[in-house]
Amino acid sequence: MEEYRLELRNVTKKFGEVHALDDVNFQLGRNEVVGLLGDNGAGKSTLIKIVTGYYQPTSGEVWFNGEKVDHLTVSKARQLGVETVYQERALAELQTLWRNIFLGRELANRWGFLDVTTMRQETHRLMTQSMGFTSTAVNPQSRVGTFSGGEKQGVAIVRALYFDAEIIILDEPTMGLSLKETAKLVNFVQDIKMAGKSAIFIDHNILHVYNVADRVVVIDRGRIAGEFLPKDINLDTLMEKMIRVAETGSLD
């Protein structure tokens, strides 16, 4: 049997009476980019928050690399190589850039004392090499709240990449970005693929997902409605199916 990087088996998540996810089976292969499509409230964000350990499934199993993981927490998921660029970006805007880069993963010795010098140097290196910040007004000591939307997204992405991620989850990463920044982001997803890593890519824009994903999974009302390989389906048909599923709950 093929070993998946990540697998959800019969996962159900209820919030009170609401079934956010209903008996979902989902697989992410090695070096695969899966696009996740679905209308607002379809359950995309709930699905990824189960993968990142933020929510615990009501029932069902989460498997990493062929091994079942019980009681997945955010820090456990990060140890397993899951890094996420959240829709809400998950930044602390009053704090400095270096504190945001190392948010929840501060470099520290075994007594918990921070290695501030290294964190600042690494942040400076990442800024100039990966984030493309050229403005001298931005430095590792700048407060993230003063950055533009694109710069903030850059921080969230670079943070996800810095920590040797195996699975990178992008939740609506193009939201609020300029056209140029969006193009950069799509390139970035292709880089993930080139680097031999896996990714789950969620976006409202079907075109972005269609262009970069190896496989597209459609979620509707908490269920997996279907999946397609972009090479087997053209963009127009996919769009028609998306509209149909949102209206009728069925792809055909």
Binding site: A90, G104, A108, L114
Partner: protein, 339 residues
Amino acid sequence: MSSQTNGVASRSSQPVKETFRLGRFVRAHAPQLGILAVFFTLWIIFIVSAPGTFLQPQIYNAFMSTVPFFAMMAIPLTMVVIAKEIDLSFPSTMAMGMVTFLLTYNATTSVTLAFVVALITGIFIGWLNGIIIVRFGIPSLVATLGTQFFWRGAVLVLSQGVSGSLIYARASLLYPVLAGKIGGGFPTQMLWLILITILGWVLLNRHKFGAHIYLIGDNIKSAELMGINTGRTRIRVFMLLGLVSAFAGVVASLHVAFFWPSLGEGYLLRTLASVFLGGTSVFGGTGTILGTFIGAFIIGAIEAATVAVGLTGFWTQLIYGLIIVLSVIMHTFLSKRME
């Protein structure tokens, strides 16, 4: 600052870099610089208007003797406020620590054991505050308003409202170590305050614990998404304040060698005022230990200064209020300008 230096910065000559660094320094430390400016302005006003008092060492000795009692608690309280929480129960914790101190002493006649039990009591009260706030999701303002009454009530019930002498403790080693005088004049509680301030600064700025406190106060959702155990961190902050409050209670009681069931009642607003005067934001996420330290001494000095300047004691609260409101306006203005 414009982007005219784009690309030139790395090759720029030394002086240009230096001025830029100065600007950066001022921006990064605006709250501390602001409170320092307030401190020195007030100090000069005090010296000019009452040179007879403020040019003599005695007044400073008096400050170092009395300010530490609440300034010690202001340090961990700063951390609580940075984490976007509040604690109103610490004055009761001071007294409750002393009650268990007395009960333990009466049972064992060991001052050391009594001291340890008092500290454990403080940690326990802090832990309980944290549990109520984190596990039951009660806002800390309401939760500690309740525990503040509860523990003050427990103090009154257990002590039957009776005060008592601690003169026996003066014979033990604890007295010279906690509330004695060094070289015949320098109060040891001031040394403890300095130690707690340094430890507090290190914990807040150079330890994971402090990093997480800032992140929780700034954006608790982000902190949770990035895997920080926000519940555990918040409980520990309350435990730290409980510990220091019980410690301050013992120091303040040993200082006068007497236990009053009302111990700590005058400290609530002064301690809170020190934190906010020092530039810690009530909205969480920002604040400094140095600011609180200076804030506490400003609060401590106003009372003496009012009288020394020739006003009656009736003026004290009015001046407190004026300086607190003006300083908080200054801090808000500075933080907006320094964005």
